[in-house]
Symmetry: none
């Protein structure tokens, strides 16, 4: 009972558009619990679409086509499907009427080429398109094989999927045992190191546990197939608990949590406020913090001290220290953090100064060297060194620097009792 | 001589990640003039990867794999390829040495699971990965078939493609008749409006002209197939010139130009400096400006005045005006811009204050309402209102606000003579 996605469009093979339809259908199939093992992209060529059908129809029982339903000659998905199954195309009058009505609404006449969109294989059911002129179809060309077609325009496809395709699939018995997932998020640990520690969980069949990594973060997703959300939660909870115990302080949150949102929650719990002083990130740390709606409750603002003069004049960094130790140093990071805390009158100050590259690196201060400063409510000052890898790109070094600063603050907020 | 892309990863079939690698490789193959008729996505399952190889190897001569090269048990692309062609995996010592060196740089020890990444089919050539621990390979398992593997992490894959794969493909005779492209970039005009004005160019066969849109920007790509770059440039230049003439001031740059880099060039030409004052964008404008390497020559820094108190105390916004007109108002935007210009001693000051949502909107100040302030070197002050659409998401409103501020500054820098 597996489904397979086939996207038709030469524009996909030229890289002109990103194939977001595949991701959408993949997510939807996963949520319905419909197995899905292959996706194919093929161009606007009838022989190659035939070949794609031949392969897919022999290994899957539902084929979901997107794209190639338009009025132009290169739109040939419907024609290719019908001819592969030796079925004639017939004109569906209700489609003609629908297109005429939509065009009339916009004060236009239906064009001759639109008539083509009313041609569907004999015996197919129309899958209505409320938002555009290209309808899809639902068709069983033979026992055990169902074909659904959708236009390539994402919002039209989404709407048709929700309005008609899902209800149809449910009548066919799909979606009885959907999959529920929970993602646990980690920072400060490599995917391989975390994976080794939780290795014994990867063989679990229900729930399953799978690792993902990207941009310094690691995610473990726990997925349970269950008849209800309550049942799924009961299956997921003990696994989540075990993983959190193993990961310790490297675990920072789940699902939609971000480092910034978790830091925000910890600050809210304490009723404390934060300001940032940024050099190499140029505002990126402030931006991350303010991605969280409601961040104005704890984030007061900051100073982007890109020029050294701004570090001295606005943040009160000692110009002799700056000359002696350099802008990228523990002492300057500390003074920046202390300076912004004092200037904005907050409980915490966090600073970042580093070499983001591609230029500006030296033997002693290579690209990727970053110092993060933390000024604590107690007056304690920290200036901590990170080497984020000299081969990395400027954008990633900046993003990693900001994430690292958030993570460091998170650990400090975690390790202190609320009373401090 | 066709190439085929096979992306391996259950996370793609679950819809956890968007398949941007396929688009990247599709664009690159098109640029090299390499035919490309199919893309396949398959999960982390050895039998199904075998089946995908069986199909692809019988219709294409170059197979490009992405994903499944990591250290965890579900990363099985290399193993599946080797076993399909009945070839043993052997350990490549230079890969072990490379991974050890990278881990040492970050002060970490290589884990046992990383050793797996050094296993490649006997006879394969390592495709080095400068940015990560997973190398790829280039391998001819039989005459007329070449396999290249890349990790799924996009930036690692891009780098390996550019550094090693393209030079290799060129030695194999690919890329003799490449397609050269130039992208023209526009801001402040809708895709449909621009498309209507340049409609007559869309039928051109060589060069071709195609429009793309996203996040407020529009791009027109002019692509020419030619024997040399000089010939392509000659074909592209008159079309580019015509389009620029039609688009006027909405055209801001080409290819890798960004609004921030173009603003930077204009400031450099004048020898002028800039500071920013940000409220709803929280640092995002500073971050955009500092994405451009070398931006420290003209961007001095800024003040993130997320809290109203910071607007008053650090930027000198009049607290009565703030109370009367509100933080999201033309007068506050003007005072923020003037304040940051004075505080940082720059030639220009730019400010943003707005309602990013999802909360905080009112009837008179709805979500998406943004004011941008500009303090000119002459002392002139502007406070300009934008309504960015109350249905948009917080992230998009913030990004559009920062882009809009850059575009406004660009137009002011363009419209004044250098002597001003």
């Amino acid at each position: 009972m597996a489904a397979e996605v086939i996207c038709v469009g030469t524009e996909l093979l030229l890289g002109d558009i990103l194939n977001s339809n595949s991701q959408y259908l993949a997510q939807e199939l996963a949520a319905l619990g419909v197995p899905h093992f292959y996706q194919t992209v093929v161009g606007d060529n009838i022989d190659r679409v035939h070949q794609a059908i031949e392969i897919a129809a022999n290994r899957s029982s539902i084929l979901l086509f997107t794209g190639g339903l338009g009025p132009t000659p290169d739109d040939l998905t419907t024609e290719a499907i019908a001819s592969y199954f030796n079925t004639p195309l017939v004109e569906y009058p209700q489609v003609i009427a629908d297109i005429e009505r939509k065009y009339a609404q916009r004060g236009r006449d239906m064009t001759a080429s639109n008539r083509k969109q009313a041609l569907q294989p004999e015996g197919a059911t129309i899958l209505p398109n409320p938002l555009g002129s290209a309808p899809g179809m639902i068709w069983q060309p033979r026992a055990g094989l169902t074909i659904l077609t959708f236009p390539g325009v994402p919002r039209e496809m989404y709407r048709m999927w929700r309005d008609t395709a899902i209800p149809f699939l449910k009548t066919q018995g799909y979606g009885q045992h959907p999959i529920y997932s929970r993602s646990l998020r980690f920072f400060g640990v490599a995917e391989s190191a975390l994976a080794e520690k939780v290795n014994h969980l990867f063989d679990s069949a229900n729930p399953t546990v799978a690792p993902y990594a990207g941009k310094g973060q690691v995610r473990l997703r726990i997925s349970a197939r269950a008849a209800s959300e309550v049942e799924a939660t009961t299956l997921i909870a003990p696994i989540a608990e075990e993983i959190q115990k193993i990961a310790g302080d490297n675990y920072f949150g789940s699902d939609d949590d971000t480092l910034a949102s978790v830091v925000g929650e910890l600050l809210l719990q304490r009723g404390q406020t934060l300001a940032v002083a940024e050099s190499c990130t140029g505002g990126g740390l402030g931006q991350m913090l303010t991605e969280t709606p409601g961040s104005s409750s704890y984030f007061m603002g900051g100073i982007i001290s890109y020029a050294n003069r701004v570090k001295v004049e606005l943040l009160g960094v000692d110009s002799e220290d700056l000359a002696r130790a350099g802008a990228v140093s523990a002492t300057v990071a500390q003074q920046m953090a202390a300076g912004v805390k004092a200037k904005l009158g907050t409980d915490w100050g966090v600073s970042i100064t580093g070499v983001a590259g591609p230029g500006g690196g030296t033997d002693t201060k290579p690209v990727g060297l970053v110092y993060i400063g933390i000024a604590h409510p107690t007056g304690d000052l920290e200036g901590i060194k990170y080497q984020l890898g000299s081969q990395q790109e400027r954008g990633l070094i900046r993003q990693m620097s900001a994430s690292q600063a958030l993570d460091l603050l998170r650990r400090r907020l975690n390790s202190r009792s609320l009373g401090e």
